[in-house]
């Protein structure tokens, strides 16, 4: 850290106001580390960033979460980026989502290693990270278990295969799609990290949204997004082994 930056922080601390990390209501020992790793200097807890998920993980390999910052967006303006992390996961960073022209709302599933807070930070245009969270009870094992693909001989022939559909809504459409991919965490014996790095969504009007799933996202990830119009969506992605995949989902 540079000296001027240190001075700045010291000044901020002295002033006793600006940019102090808010105290974690969940009392996680990891909170300060998580905020330093994944968020910026301006962090507030904000109920308008909502995480919808069950209180307990019935299946540690597939824990469903829907992150929804639409109320925040309605009141505080567009969301530039959403970052999801789980404090006590061996790999805490779950995913990054740039909603672009899609609603700031994303459904997906993740692997949990143990009970943990799951948090979503939504960054508004002023650079402030608005954080919502939940606390989840989990039996564990989700991150260190080999993906099911390794018990299945034909997984490589389906690698990158995309299934999905657009479901018309009163306004716009719900997009749901699944990409066949092991999403290996690198924590199971002898199986290196093998994950999707990013998926770009676009339509006739150009770029729509971008998802960066990290290791904790479940095998064969299934995403739910809400789009402004019910029109054909192009998906294009790549994984860390330079495999590319793409598809078009039509209404």
């Amino acid at each position: 850290m540079s000296v001027p930056k240190l001075l700045l922080i010291a000044a901020a601390l002295f002033a006793g106001t600006a940019h102090a990390l808010p105290k974690d209501p969940l009392h996680s020992g990891q909170w300060a580390t998580m905020a330093a790793l994944f968020l910026g200097e301006q962090v507030v807890f904000d109920e308008r960033v909502r995480l919808l998920a069950p209180p307990e993980a019935e299946d540690s390999m597939n824990f469903p979460v829907l992150v929804d910052a639409s109320r925040l967006a309605a009141e505080a303006g567009p969301i530039a980026e959403i970052v999801v992390f789980a404090d006590y996961n061996p790999i805490p960073l779950v995913l990054k989502f740039q909603p672009g022209r899609a609603a700031p709302r994303l459904g997906f599933r993740l692997k949990l290693q143990q009970g943990t807070p799951i948090r979503a930070g939504a960054r508004t245009a002023d650079g402030v990270w608005h954080v919502g969270h939940i606390e989840v009870d989990a039996a564990g094992g989700g991150c260190t278990v080999a993906s099911l693909a390794h018990g299945n001989e034909d997984w490589s022939s389906r690698l990158g295969e995309i299934t999905g559909d657009l479901f018309e809504r009163e306004q716009g459409a719900r997009l749901r799609f699944r990409v066949m991919h092991p999403m290996d965490t690198g924590l199971a014996d002898g199986i290196p990290v093998f994950r999707i790095e990013h998926i770009e969504l676009s339509d006739v009007d150009g770029a729509l949204a971008r998802i960066e799933p990290y290791e904790p996202v479940s095998e064969n990830p299934l995403f739910s997004l809400d789009l402004p119009q019910s029109a054909a969506v192009s998906l294009a992605g790549r994984d860390n082994n330079a495999n590319t995949f793409s598809a078009e989902i039509r209404p």
């Binding site: 919808l52 998920a53 019935e58 597939n62 469903p64 829907l66 039996a139 799609f177 078009e248």
Partner: protein, 314 residues
């Protein structure tokens, strides 16, 4: 961290030398008909407080011996069940049956390890495959009351058909759908049907290994049986209304999941869907519904996510 605490607790217990937890399940035998008893459990999910006692266990006293139907969730439960049976009758226990492979129905086997324990062959295979995971999970949720519980497998296989307990004719009916194999017993002299987890009453059905279509077909067969009193696997004693309630819930659940998948509901959203009033107050709700969404929704989602067109790679 949790694992570390568990190790510490185990080490302390060993060091203390007592190596024994005391958990009194306060089991009581209720006589439904001459010689036919039920030991009723709570309608909750597993908790630390209930020690895993969420299940209905039965025993039938014949002319020269006792048949035990399921053994409960832990070694301590099994021991207390055996003591209860021995207080209730002076006839010896001649056979123990496990209705299916879920842990609350056979983790008490340890207390009957010196006796013949029997189950359907598919049940035994499923126990072998899954008992370790069940044990980890129960230790985590139930804790203390699980102390010293080890899996004891049935040594005998059963087939559908009549068996005799002295003069009593007991019909074994092999079904499936709640799990890979579900055994139901009909005691002909009394008309008591031990429906195992084929039937839940005033308590939401659990579905971790369920095939709802098979389950509904099995309920058709149960409805065709001639019985007077029905002992569900979980919940208070009932009659045909208990079968109807289980059927109603499974039919609603499957139609609800299908409709949700057809409109593109996300799994997390679906977990918070309001339940119809007739199910909202069942025991273990809404947690059991949420668990069922985890178990069953993926197969409905598949139906509504067709293969996408492969786009040109730029």
């Amino acid at each position: 961290m949790r694992a570390l605490l568990g190790l510490l607790a185990a080490a302390l217990a060993t060091f203390a030398g007592s190596a024994r937890a005391d958990f009194d399940y306060q089991l009581e035998a209720r006589e439904l008909a001459a010689g036919v008893f039920v030991v009723e459990g709570s309608t909750e999910h597993f908790t630390f407080e209930n020690g895993g006692n969420i299940v209905n266990i039965g025993f039938i006293v014949g002319d020269d011996g006792v048949l035990v139907i399921d053994t409960g969730p832990s070694r301590l439960y099994g021991e207390q069940l055996r003591a209860l049976i021995e207080r209730t009758t002076d006839k010896p226990i001649v056979r123990v049956i496990n209705s299916h492979h879920h842990p609350d129905h056979f983790f008490g086997n340890q207390a009957f390890a010196d006796l013949p324990i029997a189950a359907l062959p598919q049940t035994i295979a499923a126990m072998q495959a899954e008992a370790g995971g069940f044990a980890d999970n129960l230790y985590r949720i139930v804790g203390n009351a699980m102390f010293g519980t080890e899996v004891v497998m049935p040594g005998e296989t059963l087939a559908a058909g009549d068996i005799r307990l002295g003069q009593r004719r007991i019909e074994l009916i092999a079904l499936s759908g709640h799990s890979v194999a579900d055994l139901v017993l009909l005691d002909h002299p009394s008309g008591v049907l031990f429906a195992s987890d084929m039937v839940y009453y005033q308590r939401a059905a659990t579905t971790p290994h369920a095939n709802p279509e098979d389950w509904l077909q099995s309920l058709d067969r149960l409805e065709g049986l001639d019985f007077d009193i029905l002992v569900p696997g979980h919940g208070p004693l009932g009659d045909a209304a208990a079968i109807a309630q289980t059927r109603d819930y499974l039919q609603w659940l499957t139609a609800h999941l299908d409709a949700a998948a057809a409109r593109g509901a996300d799994m997390a959203e679906l977990m918070y869907a309001p339940l119809p009033e007739r199910f909202a107050n069942l025991g273990a709700m809404p947690a059991e519904y949420m668990r069922s969404v985890t178990h069953l929704y993926p197969r409905y989602e598949e139906r509504y996510l067709p293969q996408a067109a492969v786009a040109e790679v730029q």
